[in-house]
């Protein structure tokens, strides 16, 4: 648990970076500090491991005033992931990860064994340990940065815009990886970002800071999107916050529809039409494992196997049991207007329309009122 008690930071030039911050970061949660640049989110983070000392106020980690600890020893108990990974370019990946154990006096052998173990934990091949950081991609470097922060098994992890320098696809992978890791490790994680999408995606609690270092709202992501505290928060979370709020609504109770399907080899799978001919409606083509491959447009008549060019690429897929946002997106992005629903293994189970999603939202709203 991390506690800020009336913490203020004024820099020498007179600017107030953090203004009278009172908040509690719960143990075992991912708490995201988010806000525009100059809002004091990074300053607040760095006051936790004494990279920056507060002008006034107290920071407690697990109930203990951090001013009572030696800064170097305190930092070895707090994992830190910096922007652009900040790996040591002159050390191999393995030795980078072994940094804190070595500082804490472990033998080199034991520290390296621990480092090799951690590389696998963050999804990297142990053979990468021998490389230098410059030989890794940006995403791999970030993974090494996370492994290095975890090496001494610290209860608290500080992450300072760790994924901001990688491209969106890699970033999403890293976010998923972090959530997966956290499910096992149960650390107290403070994560700083300027990206509200990232904040609501990974945060269990989100603290929105405004310019001048004032905490504007501290709430769970769903609450933040559905009930912003003021105009600043509502404009910061963005104009499509209603749509993003669907990420936190479950889709249970939605009735899946059916559609005529056919196999890759032209075999008839369902529906009334003979398999060699397309029909007046959209037909969904599935591969041998039952995974969607694409849509056959209405009126297209084919003989035997549908060729790749006959197929229209499908939209996003909605995995059963996940949030409503995915269902709506699947429907909106599908060429047929029918969102394809799959199970955990990616096999087709049914279709859903945008209207169904809207109806469900309306129903929920009525129930709530």
């Amino acid at each position: 648990m991390i506690e800020f008690q009336a913490v203020t930071k004024r820099f020498d030039d007179g600017t107030t970076a953090v203004d009278n911050l009172d908040m509690v970061v719960e143990a075992g949660t991912i708490t995201v500090f988010v806000g525009p640049s100059g809002c004091g989110k990074t300053t607040s983070l760095r006051m936790v491991n004494r990279m920056i000392e507060p002008t006034s106020g107290t920071v407690l980690v697990d109930g203990e005033d951090i001013r009572k600890s030696n800064p170097a020893l305190l930092r070895r108990r707090i994992g830190y992931v910096i922007q652009q990974a900040g790996l040591f370019p002159h050390r191999t990946v393995l030795d980078n990860v072994a940094t804190v154990p070595l500082l804490s006096g472990w033998t080199r052998r034991k520290a390296r064994a621990r480092a090799a173990e951690l590389l696998e934990t963050v999804g990297l091949d142990a053979a990468m340990g021998k490389r230098y950081p410059s030989q890794l991609s940006g995403g791999q470097q970030q993974r090494v940065g996370v492994a290095r922060a975890l090496a001494a098994d610290p209860p608290v992890l500080l992450m300072d815009e760790p994924f901001s320098a990688v491209d969106p696809v890699v970033r999403e992978g890293l976010q998923d990886e972090l959530l997966r890791l956290q499910a096992d490790l149960d650390k107290t994680i403070v994560f700083v970002t300027h990206d509200i999408d990232e904040a609501v995606r990974i945060g269990e609690k989100v603290a929105v800071f405004r310019k001048g270092g004032v905490l504007a709202q501290y709430a769970a992501p769903a609450e933040l999107l559905s009930n912003p505290a003021d105009d600043f928060v509502s404009s910061f979370v963005g104009k499509d916050r209603g749509y993003r709020g669907l990420s936190f609504l479950q889709a249970d109770g939605i009735q899946l529809g059916g559609v005529s399907t056919m196999g890759l080899h032209g075999e008839h799978l369902s529906g009334e039409r003979p398999s060699t001919v397309g029909g007046p409606d959209w037909t969904l083509v599935l591969d041998d494992d039952g995974r969607p491959r694409g849509w056959l447009p209405p009126g297209v008549v084919i003989q035997g196997e549908p060729a790749e060019e006959d197929l229209r690429p499908g939209g996003s897929l909605y995995t059963e049991g996940t949030a409503l946002r995915g269902a709506l997106d699947a429907a909106l992005s599908s060429p047929s207007g029918l969102g394809v629903v799959v199970d955990d293994a990616g096999r087709y189970t049914g279709v859903v329309t945008a209207q169904q999603v809207i109806d469900l939202i309306e129903e929920r709203r009525k129930d709530a009122a």
């Binding site: 170097a72 900040g86 040591f88 370019p89 002159h90 490389r131 230098y132 410059s134």
Partner: protein, 221 residues
């Protein structure tokens, strides 16, 4: 002229003289390089860490470097109370030059270490001295080594001047050659000075390679 040279080098006493002066030259030029580097590192760090100090440090080092070497060779015995012919004078003078010459490269080299890497080291729990020795200094080698190479060549050429006040080194071959208008020792002296500078430079390049294996580790694979 080649006859002259072969006659000069065939004499055993000349061979001994050349070898002695060569070894003396190596000692007089490289010892100040090592001591000067050791002194320039803390001074360069001071200039790197405290911008206010950098003006003073660079001002003094520039001023020192403009003092003519011969003048310094003559002044040092007065200041230190050493004998005028003591080779220590040359070592001290060249140490001062090397330090003055290397302060700026040390500062530049430390400036070139990425800030976020140093910040990461601090956040990992490094104390300042260990961080400097194991993170900042190794990472400053690529920039610093260029400065050290310049200083080594500068020292090797400056040692020759010491011969004018009689302290040994390959410069002795120049002074004695000029005195008796005999070109052979002068040519031997010039060639050996050049070869020495070249060999030392190659050794320094090799040293830099050995200290920076990560720079050769190719790009993203």
């Amino acid at each position: 002229m080649f006859d002259d040279l072969s006659r000069y080098l065939s004499s055993t006493s000349n061979q001994e003289l050349v070898l002695t002066q060569l070894l003396q030259h190596i000692y007089l030029s490289l010892l100040p390089l090592v001591i000067g580097l050791a002194l320039a590192i803390p001074l360069g760090w001071l200039a790197h860490r405290y911008r206010a100090a950098s003006g003073v440090v660079f001002g003094v080092s520039n001023a020192v470097y403009t003092v003519p070497s011969l003048a310094l060779f003559v002044v040092i015995p007065v200041v230190l109370g050493t004998q005028i012919l003591d080779s220590l004078n040359v070592v001290v003078a060249l140490t001062i030059y090397t330090t003055a010459l290397l302060v700026r490269p040390v500062c530049d080299a430390l400036d070139a270490v990425p800030f976020h890497v140093v910040a990461a080291a601090t956040a990992m729990g490094y104390r300042p001295v260990r961080r400097f020795v194991t993170v900042e200094l190794p990472l400053s080698v690529p920039v610093l080594s260029a400065g050290v190479r310049v200083a080594s060549v500068s020292n090797i050429s400056l040692v020759s001047v010491g011969a004018l006040i009689g302290t040994g080194g390959l410069g002795v071959l120049f002074t004695s050659g000029f005195q008796i208008s005999y070109t052979a020792p002068i040519i031997v002296g010039i060639v050996l000075t050049l070869v020495l500078a070249l060999v030392v430079d190659l050794i320094l390049v090799g040293l830099r390679r050995a200290l920076t294996p990560w720079l050769r580790a190719g790009g993203t694979t």
